[in-house]
């Protein structure tokens, strides 16, 4: 087995030599460094032996063609097998060459852009900045001066403190280090006391200066003073009240809610079972999508896409159109909650500040004056302390 593998790698060439004094010839070949294997004396004038590819050249160089007739009986090696294979199947060779060329050519362009390290700066902003600099998918990699591009991006993106650009294969990677903004200095024209920014229930207090006028568990209204701008202490038996700018944080439980009313009759769309599936592909940003409109009066769609990144970045889009028919139904509270609850909850969610920690959310459905009332509530925890600006 091992010998066969070695023969295939190093080559096994069978030579037949015809002539006189073959013993001398074999000695001469051995003396010139040719290693022969399986030497077989066929007749007293004919001898055959095997040599490797490397030894074949040496052997031919050592044999005098005027005295000996040399015939190459067989050639078996990786190189020869490949050449023979290519002769038999030229299409495969052409395909292989074309594939290599395609890969080489497509590797010369940028086909993907990735942005890392951005939190405040949106991807869209970066892409717009890139596009204004003439960098988009399909740009020749050699035309991109990474240093210059990084500098240009740095100057265009205000919130970026450092931008680096690297190219990995066909992907342009933009690494952004964002500027850490200093906490905004307190406006001197604001009040010294801390007031509540929301109607809430106080859950945590961390006060540095000033006097807290509320305690944990208190329910406060928007605008109510949480920390007064003075400190009280005793000097002997005398109570001293000293004005000081209140400093600290107050956290409270805040509920964000939204209410909507709906009629008790509702239309429910149910699938009839009929469906149509459509495919279209996308390659290097080019789509072959056609505006397809199914024949159904009412329908809903489900879309999915499959990315194939083997050799070429191909994306296959699949859209299924399901036929629906409307059905008039008398809504129960439970059905109304299921049908409309999400959209009311979404409106309530939009009212919630970004820094709020959502503790709980719920949807309630009640009947009120012949209508269905849907309440969606977000229970959150957030900093509620604020300062009131002087109007004067």
């Amino acid at each position: 087995m091992f010998q066969k593998v070695a023969d295939f790698v190093f080559g096994k060439n069978k030579i037949e030599i015809t002539g006189l004094n073959l013993d001398r010839l074999l000695n001469a070949l051995a003396a010139s460094g040719v290693i022969m294997r399986n030497i077989c004396r066929v007749t007293h004038r004919i001898v055959t032996f095997d040599v490797t590819d490397k030894m074949l050249k040496k052997a031919f160089g050592s044999i005098d063609p005027s005295q000996y007739n040399v015939r190459l009986l067989s050639r078996r090696s990786l190189k020869n097998s490949f050449i023979n294979f290519c002769k038999i199947r030229p299409g495969l060779l052409i395909g292989l060459v074309l594939t290599i060329i395609i890969i080489a050519v497509f590797n010369m362009f940028v086909w993907d852009v990735k942005v890392y390290g951005n939190e405040q700066i949106g991807d869209k902003t970066v892409f717009e900045a890139l596009e204004s600099l003439g960098i988009k998918k399909g740009k020749l990699i050699n035309d991109i001066d990474r240093k210059k591009l990084a500098q240009e991006l740095n100057s265009r993106l205000d919130q970026a403190s450092l931008v680096s650009v690297e190219i990995k294969g066909i992907t342009l990677i933009i690494n952004i280090k964002e500027r850490i903004l200093r906490p905004q200095e307190e406006d001197e024209k604001t009040a010294d006391e801390i007031i509540s920014g929301y109607d809430c229930q106080i859950v945590k207090i961390a006060l540095l200066n000033g006097t807290a006028l509320v305690k944990v568990g208190d329910i406060v209204k928007k605008g109510e003073v949480l920390a007064a701008a003075y400190e009280e202490y005793y000097e002997g038996s005398q109570k001293v009240k000293e004005p000081i700018r209140a400093e600290g944080e107050f956290w409270g439980k805040v509920w964000f809610s939204h209410t909507r009313y709906y009629a008790t009759d509702g239309v429910k769309y149910i699938r009839t079972g009929a469906k149509k599936t459509k495919f279209f592909w996308e390659i290097f940003g080019f789509k072959n999508s056609k505006n397809y409109q199914p024949v159904y009066n009412f329908f809903e769609t489900e879309s999915s896409q499959t990315k194939i990144n083997f050799l070429i970045p191909l994306i296959i889009h699949k859209t299924v159109y399901y036929e629906q028919k409307p059905q008039l139904i008398a809504l129960t509270l439970e059905q109304a909650r299921e049908l409309y609850g999400r959209e009311v909850l979404e409106v309530a969610r939009q009212k919630t500040p970004k820094d709020a920690v959502v503790l709980n959310s719920f949807i309630k459905a009640n009947e009120e004056n012949g209508l269905i009332r849907i309440d969606a509530v977000f229970e959150t925890e957030l900093k509620v302390g604020a300062r009131q600006k002087f109007t004067s």
Binding site: L22, D23, L26, N27, A30, A31, G33, V34, I35, M36, R37, N38, I39, C40, R41, H44, V47, F49
Partner: protein
């Protein structure tokens, strides 16, 4: 007896360590010869190899030289005898 043979006898060492050639017969099916000086006669029944100042003769049937290089030689086949002589 030449000098090398006498020396091997004197210091009680196997002759093939001191001698310039060495041969090994493997179960009557193969002979390995190291340090030969070239082929003298080769046919399927008899192979003669020059070794030092003597001749190594291998006789048998279907003899094939499995490997031949400047220094080593492997002979395979049905080996009847291996004789070293002048």
């Amino acid at each position: 007896m030449d000098f090398m043979s006498e020396l091997s006898k004197l210091i009680d060492l196997p002759a093939d360590i001191i001698m310039r050639y060495r041969y090994t017969v493997l179960g009557g099916k193969a002979v390995y010869v190291a340090g030969h000086k070239g082929l003298k006669i080769y046919n399927s029944e008899k192979i003669e190899l020059k070794i030092d100042k003597e001749i190594l003769t291998v006789t048998g049937q279907d003899l094939i030289i499995k490997h031949l290089s400047n220094n080593d030689c492997i002979i395979t086949g049905n080996i009847n005898s291996v004789v070293v002589g002048k």
